[in-house]
Point group: D2
Chain length 372, copies 4
């Protein structure tokens, strides 16, 4: 069902490997059929410590053996890998990602810094794979050679847009009203203080509403050969933090362009299927939207791991007195909304030929002793 393993695996590095998203990436790369994790790096110096020594590991699954002994490097432009994932904090990601791209590394980023750049794809493979067409222009604009930057959306945008995709295709979208109930793991570690969130809700997440109102426009819009054209949907978001470990729940009201019955909407969601090409990516699901019939689902604690965390789970499809349809959706903020999103993007880049096998820095240095 999945594509055959490549003859030669690509070497992957993870920037920001000790953070909450970086850890998920490291874990998901632990046994990946296409990628070998060869480098872990962090913005703060770890003075030669191994990954197992430097990381405060948060996941249930143990640290992959392949990662335990890797020395944590700084943001060093001579990492021995064919491309890098970036899970860097936004305070350093902007410049660092540009530096890596300029140094020839494809950068598959989860950070927010370059998402809205006019020549950087904001990518969900099931939604807008065609946006990869912007890469050559990006390289030309910025004078990058083999490097480039591709980003995935914000954790709360990812699930929303995935669910909107079949609806925009079938009926067109006019307006979206969304209120999020977001998990604490979305704030990283140490992140939210327990005194702030225990038995409480915090009705504010810095910058989140702005991202949710902007990113879907780009994701659901088109690349016209020279620029991204916004989808032109009316969008209003309220974002809240709730005392849930993993899984962002979203209450959504949707205004469609074409009249549709609730059954048609349910069918469009349930039947959403990616093409065979995409479905063959190791991290992809053939049907990335799961529709539940129980009136009290989805629930974060019970449904967050649907599809290994890569599904968007939808429930309570019903009429909206103001717009057309109300529904509730859930997606795993650290998988579909972060690490899994980046991994899937890298897999798409691989099959589309955007990842090359670089020579190891040492080989390069031997071969091109006068360079740099």
């Amino acid at each position: 069902m999945h594509a055959k393993p490549p003859e030669k695996k690509w070497k992957a590095g993870v920037l920001g490997a000790t953070g909450v998203v970086g850890q998920r990436l490291v874990q998901m790369l632990g046994n990946h059929p296409w990628f070998d994790l060869t480098e872990v790096a962090a913005s703060e110096r770890s003075s030669g410590r191994t990954y197992a020594e430097a990381v405060r590991w948060h996941l249930d699954a143990p640290i992959p053996d392949a990662a335990r002994g890797l020395v944590v490097k700084g943001l060093d432009l001579s990492l021995d890998c064919d491309f890098v994932f970036s899970a860097l904090d936004s305070s350093v990601a902007g410049t660092a990602e540009e530096d890596f791209a300029r140094a020839g590394y494809p950068v598959v980023s989860n950070s927010r810094n370059h998402r809205m750049d006019p020549d950087v794809p904001l990518l969900i493979p099931e939604v807008n794979a065609a946006h990869l067409d912007a890469i050559p222009l990006q390289q030309k604009n910025r004078g990058y050679d083999t490097g480039f930057i591709v980003t995935n959306p914000n954790c709360s945008t990812a699930g929303l847009v995935l669910v909107l995709k079949p609806l925009v295709d079938a009926f067109g979208l006019e307006k979206i009203f969304v209120v999020t109930l977001q998990a604490i793991s979305g704030a990283g570690y140490p992140g939210v203080a327990s005194l702030d969130i225990q038995g409480n809700v915090v009705p504010f997440i810095s910058g989140e509403e702005e991202k949710m109102e902007a990113e879907p426009q780009k994701l659901l819009g088109k690349w016209d050969g020279s620029r991204f054209v916004d989808a032109g949907i009316g969008l209003s978001a309220h974002c809240n933090r709730v005392p849930v470990i993993d899984g962002h729940l979203e209450c959504v009201s949707i205004g469609l362009k074409k009249i549709a019955s609730l059954d048609e909407v349910r069918e469009a969601l349930r039947n959403f299927e990616v093409d065979a090409d995409l479905a063959s990516l190791p991290t992809a699901l053939r049907n990335p939207i799961v529709v539940l019939d129980e009136e009290n689902r989805p629930q974060p604690r019970r449904d967050v791991n649907a599809g290994n965390g890569m599904a968007a789970v939808v429930g309570r499809v019903r009429e909206c007195p103001l717009l057309d349809v109300k529904l509730t959706l859930l997606s795993h903020n650290l998988v579909r909304g972060a690490a899994g999103a980046a991994l899937l993007n890298a897999e798409l880049l691989a099959v589309r030929g955007f990842l090359k096998h670089r020579r190891a820095p040492s080989e390069s240095r031997l071969a091109e002793p006068v360079s740099r």
Copy 2:
């Protein structure tokens, strides 16, 4: 500041006194300047036990001394009180409240059964005190003598409508989009199982969205002398249960009829003040809306007790890309949304002359030996 105590206090009974809302009523009546708690009753037989013996008390404050020794009666139409509060479960409230009204007791109900009856006021004193004018017609229609039924809204409607009141007055309302994050105490006891809500959100509360979409129409509408005329506002609600003890948080987007700046909206909310008559009620606040400036407030655990639980707390007043204004509001579901709401309604009824001093059943029996 508050009205002078009456020369003679009214005797109050509480139906459903052992439930979560009934307990709050009992507690709030513990030291009330106008009302003496003389009867506690419950739908299930307590076989002569005192209130202290029969109740599983949930509140921090102790059981009021005046209540401890009261014998818990059944739903007995010869209770020794001038009026009754009803915190009965909706499975029995419908008939029981009618029976008490027919037997001559004013019934101040928190139950949902009669809220939408065409001749029963659904009352928030600060919002629609004029709806009391429906009482005489109710009595005539139903053949009630001194009895009648007055109700307060659903716990999540109460805070919303209180906040909408100054906006409808100043700018008119077209559309309301609301998503609730509701506390577990709203489901009574034992209510929500911990296995269902610990570290989780349940995106469904039976019947809640229907109530929130219907009740504000009546509350913000008019009594035209013969019937209630709906406010005609477009309303869409999503209701969620979150792991919070007390306090319903609501994310609201509002479409106004008249253009208004955010500052004008904030001022309308902040300056909302009830008239001196209302402000003199023991449970009333002069300014029942509190507007916070911090970007991450209101929060249930931190703000739920504002104004002794009778305030609606508003924060994050900001532009809505779809409608006009977004805001977040919080109110105490057991006080403003239930027990305090009923108590305030009773106080309004008292000053408006709707509560009479009844003779005690024993006195009546002596005086009118042949009646009934």
Copy 3:
């Protein structure tokens, strides 16, 4: 590593299949190499509904396909299975289990009713497999033919005794002081009300301290051929409920008979290994005790699934100023402490020859038309 699948699988029934423990059993039997789940039964009538219809499923993993369509039966003595698991509520388990044993079914029980019976093994395979020797006497005493009853300990006892086993073997035990912090899933469903446990601790679990002070005496004692001889350990337990989903944590101080260094204690725990015979059971671990070195582990949310929930996880082995050793241990109350415990017991019974292949009730009836 595990024993070879039997030529013919045993047919298993689950009594109390819709409860929290019953669900775990059904799930663990979903793909079991030795046992086929053929019957699900419950004490309350389900009027012919299938398991999928009748159960309120709580687990992340879906209902096994093999179980979905089984009709939920009553406690019917003609179930088509070779033995039964009992996850019945203690209010009915006492008589029901005796009835099934008398009707010829081996009963592998998680209920407390018969645990301390003088002829019923209270069994943890890694601890006291020799107690199975009591079965023939039980059958003789009670007039059972092929049936009998075997029980597993209380959920908080299971982890404790497993950890004590290597210590009693190596050093002898004099005194145990234990305080538990027990998960809400231990109370079943709906179990603990969220209003009782959210942000709270309840320092009482009915009957739990008595069980913890009694059961280890039997478990760590001997079967002398005619009766169980207590281990004679001094034991004191305090039991608390904490807002954790799964996993009972226990703070233990231990007085040893023989002087031992902390390192010797750690080694005894870490090296605890079951014999090859036991290790070959499908649900068994070769090393059922995991010792962690981090000073702040074990933690319920992070370590509860160690060894698929069948391990006891130990940390913080340190000196006790009053007794000899302090440590903290964790075990999964629904797996090691209930469903997994019963399953492991059944597997041991299978390899020891205590489970027979019964003819189906219909076959019996055809073959022996006059019986019963």
Copy 4:
């Protein structure tokens, strides 16, 4: 009932005023009959901001008006106050408290640094008021003039020792086994990360067990005129963090020197009464121990505020199979265990004549221009 207000109030400063304990002190000083809060100071510079600007306020009650406008100073030895409370972090408290004492300020400290110093009283007024006799020797030893240091115990020790006091007096104590379930507010702010404690228990609090095993020896011991003599009780503690906001629960087993019935133990606890002198302190309770009869109490969320947070609440007094008595106790970690403890200590110092009215620094400077 409380002592008469002094003719002239003492001026109080709070060091570490912006932390969690400092905030409680500021709040409790907001309306104190004997003390005026005149200075707030913090170890990190707040560059001239007022308290209202500098603090991230965590309490439900608002910031006292008297505190809002105070400028937050550094640890400046010319604060205008008669004595200081120290709620400083232990990383700076050691030296800073000595500096203030040397500069003439009585220091009433909640920090751990000097608690076990051989000439510093570790004080609980109801337990060991006589330890104040050590102050003159402290001043002599250290060359302090009017200044000195008095400390209160660790938050988990405070409640324990208060409960032990009547038992040691009536029966003598041999051994104490204690396991704590401690609230998150005990770790300050931001303190415990929500990802660490949500739905979890952390069985480790750095340094806590050592404090709990050492401090009671001093508290329950004697000052013999030249040194503190330990109480010589055998003590073993296990400390855990649980997801509770406020209130440390402790499971305790107690070995007494004299045989006592459970009723005698209950009576000793219930009848514990401080003398009239102590009871007259504004923050004191006449009966600081509350004994509950319900089998499932005390509970942190429901009982933490007993006696305005100054009571120790005891329940479940029962036999211990290993020692003599088991019980569960609860006390408010931020009130009885920190801010209230320090406040009560200051009140005792005031009535015992240890607090003087200092001239304001400006006055001093005018009067003694050549000093220092």
